[in-house]
């Protein structure tokens, strides 16, 4: 059971509503506050821009006695994720954070965490993968990990990044799921930008996440367990099948927990977020913070009388195929904006998923095009978004385009 630790003075007020506080916080600080409230047993991490700040904050909370977490400040991300695996297999609640090359260095161990069914939670500040070196936002890091068996949730705002971490703990540890969860937010655009964030009171946040009792623990020395055996062809497929089922269950559990969160705290997000989709004829599909500026353009174009909309998948793994099909079928054309490349593929990774989901739409599958943008932090201009909507109105929009590229 998680003990109650001393709350910082400003959140020690009793009445429920008053316990909440809206503040201007960056995504990193908001996430660090969520981790403080969750008070996990172990945080093992390694610094990397733009998520370094999260574990710095956590370290300060520990140093100030505001958390009882055991910090493992590792010598690499590979070791950080390895320590997370060890701690989680011991039955601890474990949270870490990383970005880009750090996530890439963890790659091997990401599969081990999910394969051993360990509910580790990780905050990812999305950043471009080297090379050349670039510290700014794109999604090449987490898209590279999309098949690692981790649940992936992408936040549009700092508020959502905060809420997602709280929900992620519940999702990961749910007995029907037991999979690790990556909660992603855009590097710098969300990690370092101040937004209005309403924090829950410590007590209600803790009450929401609850206590964690692992079913199998390495520390249960009277009932020894073997974790990570040598699995041969006669059983490996069955173990992977269990992961497939767990990922399917995750779709249901994510919705249930999000609903409960909404009922208790007034904010819920669903698997996908839609904006002006009811009568839309064309739409953009995009992840994370970019949805904000696309929504503004939707407003502008709507004022001009154009029937445009936006769809933002909040969850990428498990992929909300049915929700997407329901929202997109009957549209004339859809542009999927990817913040990552998949070299040699028809388009970005989100595009290929959306296109594949729509193939199954019984009728009225829209034309789908791929627009890759924002690589390595390249800003996307309002006019470029307008242009994408304009292209969708043309007879034959090009299938793939790198937005804003100087050829």
């Amino acid at each position: 059971m998680l003990d109650v630790v001393t709350a910082p003075p400003e959140t020690r007020v009793a009445p429920r509503a008053a316990m909440r506080s809206a503040k201007a916080l960056t995504g990193n600080i908001a996430v660090a506050q969520a981790i403080r409230q969750i008070n996990p047993h172990v945080c093992a991490a390694y610094p990397i821009t733009p998520t370094t700040q999260i574990m710095q904050e956590v370290a300060q909370f520990v140093a100030d006695g505001l958390m009882e977490t055991e910090l493992v400040p590792c010598e690499s991300e590979h070791s950080a994720m390895s320590a997370c695996v060890g701690a989680s297999a011991a039955g601890a609640r474990v949270i870490t954070a990383t970005s880009a090359n750090g996530l890439a260095l963890m790659w091997e161990v990401l599969y081990i965490a999910s394969g051993l069914r360990l509910p580790v939670v990780m905050a990812v500040g999305n950043r471009a993968l080297s090379g050349p070196l670039n510290i700014h936002c794109d999604h090449s890091d987490s898209m590279g990990a999309r098949d690692s068996g981790w649940i992936q949730i992408y936040a549009e705002t700092a508020q959502e990044a905060y809420d997602n971490i709280l929900q992620a703990v519940r999702i990961a540890e749910h007995p029907d799921v037991l999979l690790p969860v990556m909660t992603c937010m855009d590097g710098f655009l969300t990690t370092h930008t101040s937004e209005n964030v309403e924090l829950l009171g410590d007590a209600e946040a803790r009450d929401f996440v609850g206590a964690y009792h692992a079913r199998y623990s390495l520390l249960d020395v009277d009932n020894p367990i073997t974790y990570g055996p040598n699995d041969l062809p006669d059983s490996y497929t069955e173990h992977k099948y269990q992961q497939v089922l767990a990922m399917q269950n995750a779709a249901r559990v994510i919705c249930e927990i999000d609903k409960e969160f909404g009922e208790r705290f007034g904010r819920s997000y669903g698997m996908i977020d839609t904006y002006c989709m009811e009568d839309a004829e064309t739409a953009i599909v995009v992840l994370s913070s970019t949805a904000g500026i696309v929504k503004e353009m939707v407003d502008t174009l709507r004022a001009e009388g154009r029937k445009v909309g936006l769809l933002r998948p909040r969850v990428f793994r498990p992929f909300p195929a049915q929700e997407l099909v329901d929202a997109l079928k009957g549209l004339r054309a859809v542009a999927v904006m990817d913040r990552a490349l998949s070299f040699g593929a028809e388009g970005g990774p989100l595009f290929t998923e959306v296109q594949s989901a729509l193939r199954n739409a019984e009728c009225g599958a829209p034309k789908v095009v791929s627009r890759v943008f924002g690589l390595g932090g390249r800003a996307v201009a309002r006019d470029e978004i307008r242009e994408i909507y304009d292209e969708l109105d043309s007879d034959r929009p090009v299938k793939f385009r790198l937005v804003g590229v100087r050829e």
Partner: protein, 299 residues
């Protein structure tokens, strides 16, 4: 603590090492095992030879993994979150890896865990090559050894480089306990394991592990070789306790190193005409190192 019926080769030194390791203590033990022969042979699903909690994570991260387990233990103990059990003896943590998983790919993870001061014991079973993948050289392979990636050929006579001194590297972390051991001297080894587990903080033991397959030696000679390694001073037994160095075994008569080498096919080419200088070189290195250790003990 480790069941018979594991699938290690006949005469495998590592099987003896893990048995002796677990016999050395009454504490409840949790083991983190790097990828390698021991891991693949003791855990073939749905069976396990381990009667203690055991985790295999990857090849290079046994130390990082155990540091997570140990951190979890500290945190859960403090909060009263540990699983219920019959007695409340402290739980002890052992990471176990081959020379490949320790000297080479796992060196960073080991160094990090030693520096962070986790309360655990790392045991390296050093059979001098990547045996599980088919006897490739490692930085622990001795000079002259014929391995599949340092083969003895017409022009090159096996491994041309000296072994890395991993025990010295571990000791350079100034941890409370560092030792070498051999299952041939099992009283010495088991005593060292008990001591290491009592140490407050990280401990490291490097254990000579005979591999009949990779060494091309007779399986029934494994214990003989485990003793000869020590008696020729090829694998001296010592411990460094809180910085204090002590030889734990001094042979009455230091046997010539060829006694050890000639029983191993991996050194067979060194006994061919023209390679006498390599044998002489090995003997010279052994003598120099033994001399240094004797000097060191006097200090």
């Amino acid at each position: 603590m480790v069941a018979p019926g594991h699938r290690l080769c006949t005469g495998c030194g590592a099987g003896v090492i893990i048995r002796q390791m677990l016999m050395s203590t009454d504490y409840p033990i949790v083991v983190s095992n790097a990828t390698g022969c021991v891991e693949v042979c003791t855990s073939v699903y749905p069976y396990t030879a381990w009667r203690v909690p055991w985790i295999h994570n990857g090849f290079e991260n046994a130390a990082a993994t155990i540091s997570g387990v140990e951190a979890a233990y500290k945190s859960m103990k403090r909060r009263g979150d540990l699983p219920a059990r019959k007695n409340d003896k402290p739980i002890k943590f052992i990471a176990l890896g081959g020379d490949g998983g320790t000297y080479d790919i796992g060196l960073q993870s080991l160094s990090g865990a030693l520096e962070r001061g986790h309360d655990f014991l790392y045991i390296c079973y050093d059979n001098g090559a990547y045996m599980n993948t088919g006897i490739q050289r490692s930085s622990a392979s001795p000079f002259g050894a014929n391995t599949t990636t340092s083969p003895a050929g017409v022009m090159i006579q096996g491994k041309q480089e000296e072994r890395k001194d991993l025990t010295a590297i571990a000791a350079a972390h100034n941890i409370p306990y560092v030792a070498t051991a051999s299952p041939g001297y099992y009283m010495d080894f088991t005593r060292k394991v008990s001591k290491a587990l009592e140490a407050k903080g990280p401990a490291f033991i490097n254990v000579l592990s005979v591999c009949p397959l990779g060494w091309k030696s007779e399986p029934e000679e494994s214990q003989v070789l485990a003793r000869l390694g020590v008696e020729t001073c090829f694998w001296p037994l010592f411990e460094i306790e809180n910085g204090k160095f002590r030889l734990t075994f001094r042979p009455n008569v230091k046997k010539p190193v060829v006694e050890y080498l000639k029983r191993q096919g991996r050194f067979g080419h060194l006994f061919k005409a023209g390679n006498e200088h390599m044998l002489a070189h090995i003997q010279q290195r052994v003598d120099e190192e033994w001399g240094r250790l004797l000097e060191r003990e006097k200090k």
